[in-house]
C-alpha cells in the first residue's frame, strides 16, 4: 500500500503560534472571560474610586450633622472660665482672610455642634467615669453625656490662677490637677467625636484667653517663642507623584499578572479535560511540544492582557481621582510611560514564569472546580512576596535580585522613582529568564504525562479495569 502524499508538517514555532492563537481566540469568545478580563478592569477602578469618594462624603455628612453632648465638671469652688462653653459649642471661625457670608455662617453653626450639658461640682475623675458608665440606672439615657470635661482647679478664676495651697488633695504634685481632662468612651462613636471636637476647640480657646490678657498693643503672635513653619518639600511634584505610584504599582503588577493567568491556566488544562477536547488536541499533526508551548503562550498572553488593561485603567482613574481629591496638594501623577516601557521586558518574563507555573499546577486538576481550588492558594504564594515591595526602606541587593517575585517589584519601584541601575536590571532579567525557562520545562513535563489523556474518560474506567475487567 502506498502512503499517499501529505504536505509537510509545520515547524515547531509556527505550530506553537497557531495553537496559541487558537487558544486565545477561543478564550476571548467566552463571554465570561471577556467580562472578567476586559470589561471589569476598565470599569472597576472608576467604580471603586467613586465608592470611596461617596463613602467619604457619606461619613462626613453624618459626622458633621451629629450633635454630641458634653458635660462639664470642676472641683469644688472653681468657676468655669468665661466663654468656655461658647468656644466648645461651635466650630471655630476660619482663619482671618476667609470671609463668610451670613448664610454660610449660619450654615456653619448648624454643623459639628456640641451641646454643653450641665455643670456638676464637685466632680472628679471617678465621678465622671460613673456618670458615663452604662450601668448607671439613675440617669435616663438621653441625659447621659457623650463625654465629660473636667476643668482643672487652676483655671477657676479670672485672675488666672489659684494659690498653690488650694491644689487638689488627691493630687499632691499638682501634675494632673493642672490639666483639663476629658473622660470619654473610645468605643462609642459620639463620645469619640466629642473627643475630637473638644481636642480641636480647647487649644484655640486657651490661645484666645491668653490673647485677651495681653497688654495693649502687644501682637498676639508674640505669645509663641517661634513659629512652626510647615515643611517645604524639595521634591518636584512629579517625583512625589512617582513616589506614590512606586508604592502601589509594582505590587499591582504582580497581583494582576497572577490573577490574569489564573483563569486561562485552569481553562486550558482542566477545562479542556472537562470539555473532552484534550484528546482532540493530541491528534494534531504537530509536535507535542508545540501543543504545550502553545498553551503556556496562550496563558501568558491572557496574563499580559489583563495586566496591561488593569494598569492602564488604573492609571487613568488614579489621575482622575487625585485631581478630584487633592486639589490643593502638590502631587502630580503622570503616567510613567518611560518606566512602563523599561519594565515591560521584565514584566513579560515574569508573566511567562507565572503562566508556566500556574499551568503546570493546574494540569494536575481533572475538573474546572478542582483547578480553581488548586490554584487559589498558589496565588497567595506569589502575592505575599510582592508585599515586600511595599516596605519602604527595602533596597535591591544582588541576593534579592535573584528572587523571582521580589526582584520585579523592587526593580519596577526603582524605575518609577527614576533611579534604576543597569546591574540590578540585568541581574533581574537573568534571574527571571532562568526561572521562566525552568517553569516552562516543568510545565511541559507535567503536561506530557499520559494520565492526563488516558483518563479522558472518567477515571472509573481504569479502576474498574483494575478489578479484572468485570463489568
Amino acid at each position: 500500500m502506498q502512503a499517499p502524499e501529505h504536505p509537510p508538517a509545520p515547524s515547531l514555532w509556527r505550530a506553537t503560534l497557531w495553537i496559541a492563537a487558537k487558544e486565545i481566540r477561543t478564550s476571548f469568545r467566552d463571554r465570561q472571560t471577556t467580562l472578567y478580563m476586559v470589561v471589569l478592569p476598565i470599569v472597576i477602578y472608576p467604580l471603586l474610586f467613586w465608592c470611596l469618594i461617596q463613602s467619604a462624603l457619606f461619613v462626613q455628612g453624618r459626622r458633621e450633622h451629629t450633635e454630641v453632648t458634653l458635660a462639664l465638671g470642676a472641683p469644688a469652688g472653681a468657676e468655669l472660665p468665661r466663654g468656655l462653653a461658647g468656644a466648645l459649642a461651635r466650630r471655630p471661625p476660619p482663619r482671618a482672610g476667609n470671609e463668610l457670608t451670613s448664610e454660610q455662617a449660619a450654615q456653619r453653626d448648624e454643623l459639628e455642634r456640641v451641646r454643653i450639658g450641665p455643670l456638676r461640682q464637685p466632680l472628679d475623675e471617678a465621678g465622671a467615669r460613673e456618670w458615663l458608665a452604662r450601668t448607671d440606672p439613675a440617669e435616663p439615657d438621653e441625659e447621659r453625656p457623650d463625654a465629660v470635661l473636667l476643668v482643672p482647679a487652676a483655671v477657676g478664676r479670672d485672675d488666672g490662677g489659684l494659690p498653690p495651697d488650694t491644689r487638689d488633695a488627691s493630687d499632691p504634685d499638682g501634675a494632673r490637677g493642672e490639666q483639663a481632662t476629658l473622660v470619654y468612651d473610645s468605643t462609642d462613636a459620639s463620645s469619640d467625636l466629642a473627643r475630637e471636637r473638644v481636642g480641636q476647640r480647647l487649644p484655640r480657646f486657651a490661645h484666645e484667653r491668653r490673647v485677651a490678657e495681653l497688654p495693649a498693643g502687644t501682637d498676639e503672635r508674640e505669645l509663641e517663642a517661634f513659629t512652626l513653619g510647615f515643611a517645604r518639600d524639595v521634591a518636584p511634584g512629579e517625583s512625589r507623584g512617582a513616589h506614590l505610584l512606586a508604592a502601589i504599582l509594582p505590587m499591582l503588577l504582580v497581583v494582576m499578572t497572577v490573577m490574569g493567568a489564573f483563569f486561562p491556566a485552569v481553562d486550558l488544562t482542566a477545562g479542556e479535560r472537562e470539555r473532552h477536547t484534550a484528546e482532540t488536541t493530541l491528534l494534531l499533526p504537530v509536535p507535542r511540544l508545540a501543543v504545550h508551548y502553545g498553551k503556556v503562550l496562550a496563558v501568558c498572553a491572557g496574563a499580559v492582557t489583563a495586566t496591561a488593561l488593569n494598569l492602564f485603567a488604573l492609571a487613568l482613574s488614579a489621575g482622575h481621582l487625585l485631581h478630584m481629591w487633592a486639589r490643593d496638594t502638590d502631587i502630580e501623577v503622570e503616567v510613567p510611560l518611560g518606566a512602563f516601557l523599561a519594565v515591560a521586558p521584565l514584566a513579560l518574563l515574569f508573566a511567562l514564569f507565572v503562566s508556566a507555573a500556574l499551568t503546570a499546577i493546574a494540569s494536575r486538576a481533572r475538573t474546572f472546580k478542582e483547578g480553581q481550588a488548586l490554584l487559589g492558594p498558589v496565588q497567595l504564594v506569589f502575592i505575599v512576596p510582592a508585599m515586600a515591595g511595599v516596605m519602604p526602606a527595602l533596597a535591591l541587593t544582588p541576593g534579592l535580585a535573584c528572587l523571582p517575585v521580589v526582584n520585579v517589584v523592587l526593580v519596577f519601584r526603582e524605575l518609577l522613582e527614576g533611579r534604576g541601575a543597569a546591574w540590578s536590571y540585568a541581574l533581574t532579567a537573568l534571574s527571571l529568564a532562568s526561572f521562566a525557562a525552568l517553569s516552562v520545562w516543568i510545565a511541559v513535563r507535567l503536561l506530557s504525562r499520559e494520565e492526563l489523556y488516558a483518563g479522558a474518560r472518567p477515571s472509573r474506567s481504569w479502576w474498574r479495569f483494575a478489578r479484572g475487567g468485570r463489568a
Binding site: R108, V155, Y184, D185, S186, D233, V234, A235
Partner: protein, 684 residues
C-alpha cells in the same frame, strides 16, 4: 402492591445525609474552603505584623543626616533643639549656612510661585550633598520673628522619617519655650491647664478589643459564609444539575420541597461549620498574640471574653440562615457550575452593602436598622462585642431577621420546579431571545451611565460650561442614537417613531408644565426626609457649580442647567433606552429601571433617590403620552424652577402643588397616536 411511602422526615434526613456525605468526600473542596483559610489567618496576620514592624524599625533605626542652621534662633533655643533632636533617634547634625534661603524669604512670603520654586531649588542644593532633611531658623518680619522651618524630600522614605523626628523634637521645644514666653508676658497663664488635654478612656480593654473585632468580624463572616456555603450550594444545585443527578432525584417519590429543604439544610450546616472553623482560627490567632487587630493600639493580649464572642455568634445566626437561603436560590437558578460561580460575585457585593453599615461607628442599632436584613445582625454583633447589650432591641432584630430568612427559605422550596430544571438549553436560548430589546436597552443604559461618569466628568473638569454642553448635547444624543438604531432595526420600525418623537398634544404639554411645581415640592420633601438618614456634607459641590457658572451669563446658565439636560437626558433615557425597555416590560418595570439608571447617572448617593423619582415620573409621562416632548418640557420646567431659585421663594407654598391635579388630568387624556390611528407603536 405498592409499599407505603416513607414519611417526609425520613426522606429529608436521607437526602440531607447524602448531601453531607458527598460534600465530605470532596476532600479538595473541603480543604480549600475550610482548612486552608484556617491556616492562612495566622500567616496573614503574622505576615502583616512582621512587615509593619520590619519596615518601621528599619526606618527608626537608620541614621539620618540633618542639616541645621539655627544661628538666627538664639543660642539657648539652638542648644535645646540639638538636645531634643539627638533624643529622637540616630542622627547626625551637620551645620549648614542657610543664608541663600534667608535671602529669598521676603519674596517667598508673598507666595509667588516663581519665588517658591527658587526656594525649592536653593534648598535642593543642600540635599545633593547627602543630607536627608534640613531645619532652618528663618527670620521673618512678623512676630515672633523667628520661624523654624524644616525641609524634606517627599520622594524619599528616609527623608520623611527624618522629618517626623524633626517635627517631634520641634514640638517639644515649642511647648517648653512658649510656656516660658507666656510666663514672661503674662506672669500667670490664664489658659493654665487648658492647653493640654489629658484623655481618659473609660472603655475597658475588653470593650476596645470587642469594638475593633466588631468592625472586622461581620465582613469576614460574610466572606466566609459565602465561600463555605457556596461550595455546598454549587455542588448541591448547579453541580447536580450539570451531572444529571438532579433529574434522577426529582423522579423519586419524594416531594420536591423536601429535597429542596434538605439541600438547604446541607448548605446551612456547611456554612455554619465553615464560619465556626474560620472564626476559631481568627480568634485563636488574636488570642495567642500572633497578630493584632487593625486600629487596636493596645499591645496587651486580646481581651474579649468567650461569653461575648458566643453571644455575638448567636446573634448573627439569622444572617447565616438568610445567606444560605440566598445561596441556594442563586445556585438553583444556575444551569452549570461555572454559571453559578459567576453569579456569586454580585451576591457577595449585595451582601456586603448592608454589612458595611456595621463598620460605621456612628450607625446605631435602633428599630429601623435592626430590621435591615444582614445589616441588623451585623450591627447587633458589633454592639454585643463592644458590650452594648439592649435585650429588647436584640430580640426584635432576631425576630425580624428570622422572618427575612424564612421568606427566603420559602422561596427555596420552589426552585426545584420540574419545568425549570428540565428546561433544555435551547429553551433558555429562546427565552433570552424574547427579551432581547430590554436587555440591550439596559446595557446601553449602563454604558451611558458609565460614559457620563467617566467622559463627562473629565470634560467638566477641563471646562465646566463647555463640558456640560458637550456631555448633554453631544455625548448623550450620540449614544442614544446608536442605541435606538439597534432597537429600530430589531423592531423594524422607523427611528423617529422608536424614539417617540411624534408631535405631542397641546393638552399634554400644558399638563406637563402644571406638574412641575408639584414635582419640585415632592423632591424637596424627599430630600428633606433623606437628610435625616443621609445628611449632606458641607463640601457638597452643587452650590459650587452654580457659583462657577456665574460668569457665563443668565441666559446661558438657564440653557446649560435647564434646557440642555432636559433635551440630552430625555433623548437618551426616555427616548432611546425606554424604547427598548417598553417593548418587553410592563410600565411599572420600565419606571423602576429608569429610576435606577437615572438616579445612578447623577453619580451621587445623596442625589440618587430624588433624581430617581424624577426619572420614574418622566418615564410614566412619556409612556402615557406616547411622546417625548411633554417629558422634555416637564424636565426643563423642573430644572428651571430649581435653578432660578423660585422653588425656594415664590413657589414654596404648598398650594402650588395643587396644580398637579389638572396637570395629571390633562396628561391622562389619550395620546395622539390612539386618536390618529396607531402605527403599531403601542406595546404589544
Amino acid at each position: 402492591m405498592a409499599r407505603p411511602a416513607p414519611d417526609t422526615r425520613t426522606q429529608f434526613l436521607c437526602v440531607l445525609g447524602t448531601e453531607l456525605r458527598s460534600l465530605w468526600r470532596d476532600r479538595r473542596a473541603l480543604f480549600s474552603a475550610l482548612v486552608l483559610p484556617m491556616l492562612l489567618y495566622p500567616l496573614l496576620f503574622q505576615g502583616q505584623a512582621w512587615l509593619e514592624r520590619a519596615s518601621r524599625t528599619r526606618l527608626e533605626q537608620r541614621n539620618v543626616r540633618v542639616g541645621l542652621d539655627l544661628t538666627r534662633a538664639g543660642p539657648e533655643l539652638a542648644q535645646r533643639l540639638r538636645e531634643r533632636l539627638a533624643e529622637e533617634g540616630p542622627i547626625e547634625l551637620v551645620d549648614i549656612d542657610a543664608g541663600p534661603l534667608q535671602a529669598l524669604e521676603v519674596e517667598v512670603a508673598t507666595g509667588a510661585p516663581a519665588a517658591v520654586e527658587r526656594e525649592r531649588s536653593a534648598a535642593a542644593a543642600f540635599f545633593d550633598t547627602g543630607l536627608e532633611a534640613l531645619l532652618v531658623a528663618i527670620t521673618t518680619d512678623t512676630p515672633p520673628f523667628v520661624e523654624l522651618r524644616p525641609y524634606r524630600d517627599g520622594a524619599e522614605d528616609l527623608s520623611n522619617e527624618a522629618l517626623r523626628r524633626i517635627e517631634r523634637a520641634r514640638a517639644r521645644v515649642h511647648e517648653e519655650f512658649t510656656h516660658r514666653r507666656v510666663q514672661e508676658l503674662l506672669e500667670l497663664d490664664p489658659a493654665q491647664g487648658l492647653t493640654d488635654l489629658a484623655l481618659v478612656d473609660v472603655a475597658s480593654a475588653e470593650d476596645q478589643g470587642g469594638a475593633a473585632l466588631g468592625r472586622l468580624l461581620p465582613i469576614l463572616a460574610v466572606f466566609v459564609l459565602l465561600s463555605g456555603g457556596a461550595a455546598a450550594a454549587l455542588a448541591a444545585f448547579a453541580g447536580e444539575r450539570e451531572s444529571g443527578t438532579l433529574e434522577t432525584l426529582l423522579v423519586q417519590p419524594v416531594p420536591a420541597r423536601t429535597i429542596a429543604a434538605a439541600k438547604f439544610a446541607a448548605v446551612l450546616l456547611t456554612a455554619l461549620v465553615t464560619l465556626v472553623c474560620n472564626g476559631l482560627s481568627v480568634l485563636g490567632t488574636l488570642f495567642f498574640g500572633w497578630g493584632a487587630l487593625p486600629g487596636l493600639e493596645a499591645a496587651g493580649g486580646f481581651a474579649v471574653g468567650s461569653g461575648r464572642v458566643l453571644t455575638a455568634a448567636l446573634v448573627y445566626l439569622p444572617s447565616v440562615a438568610l445567606l444560605s437561603a440566598l445561596l441556594c436560590l442563586v445556585c438553583g437558578r444556575a444551569r452549570t457550575f461555572r454559571e453559578g460561580q459567576h453569579l456569586l460575585l454580585p451576591l457577595l457585593l449585595l451582601a456586603l452593602v448592608p454589612t458595611l453599615l456595621a463598620t460605621q461607628d456612628d450607625v446605631e442599632l435602633d428599630l429601623l436598622t435592626a430590621a435591615i436584613p444582614l445589616g441588623g445582625p451585623a450591627l447587633a454583633m458589633r454592639d454585643v462585642l463592644r458590650g452594648d447589650v439592649v435585650l429588647p432591641l436584640l430580640a426584635w432584630m432576631f425576630a425580624a431577621n428570622l422572618a427575612w430568612a424564612a421568606l427566603a427559605v420559602a422561596q427555596v422550596g420552589r426552585i426545584l420546579d420540574g419545568e425549570r430544571v428540565f428546561a433544555a438549553a435551547s429553551d433558555e436560548h429562546e427565552d433570552a431571545q424574547r427579551r432581547v430589546q430590554s436587555r440591550l436597552a439596559l446595557r446601553w443604559g449602563l454604558l451611558g451611565v458609565i460614559a457620563i461618569y467617566l467622559v463627562g466628568s473629565t470634560l467638566q473638569n477641563w471646562s465646566l460650561a463647555l463640558g456640560l454642553a458637550l456631555t448633554l448635547l453631544a455625548l448623550l444624543p450620540l449614544l442614544g442614537l446608536l442605541a435606538a438604531r439597534g432597537t429600530a432595526r430589531r423592531a423594524r420600525a422607523r427611528l423617529a417613531s422608536v424614539l417617540s418623537l411624534r408631535a405631542p398634544r397641546l393638552a399634554h404639554l400644558a399638563g406637563a408644565v402644571c406638574l412641575a411645581p408639584a414635582l419640585v415640592q415632592l423632591t424637596q420633601l424627599v430630600f428633606a426626609w433623606q437628610q435625616t438618614v443621609l445628611p449632606l456634607p458641607s463640601s457638597f459641590g452643587e452650590s459650587t457649580m452654580l457659583r462657577e457658572l456665574e460668569g457665563v451669563g443668565p441666559v446661558a446658565r438657564i440653557a446649560l442647567l435647564a434646557l440642555a439636560p432636559a433635551l440630552g437626558e430625555e433623548f437618551f433615557f426616555r427616548g432611546a433606552i425606554l424604547a427598548g425597555l417598553r417593548r418587553d416590560l410592563a410600565p411599572w418595570k420600565c419606571a423602576l429601571w429608569q429610576f435606577a439608571l437615572f438616579g445612578a447617572a447623577h453619580a451621587s448617593i445623596h442625589r440618587f433617590v430624588p433624581t430617581g423619582i424624577v426619572g420614574a415620573l418622566l418615564t410614566l409621562v412619556c409612556l402615557r403620552t406616547q411622546s417625548l416632548w411633554p417629558a422634555v418640557l416637564l424636565h426643563a420646567s423642573y430644572n428651571s424652577l430649581l435653578v432660578s431659585g423660585l422653588a425656594e421663594t415664590h413657589l414654596a407654598h404648598p398650594a402650588w402643588a395643587l396644580l398637579a391635579l389638572p396637570g395629571a388630568a390633562l396628561l391622562l387624556l389619550p395620546g395622539a397616536a390612539a386618536r390618529g390611528g396607531a402605527s403599531g407603536e403601542l406595546r404589544s
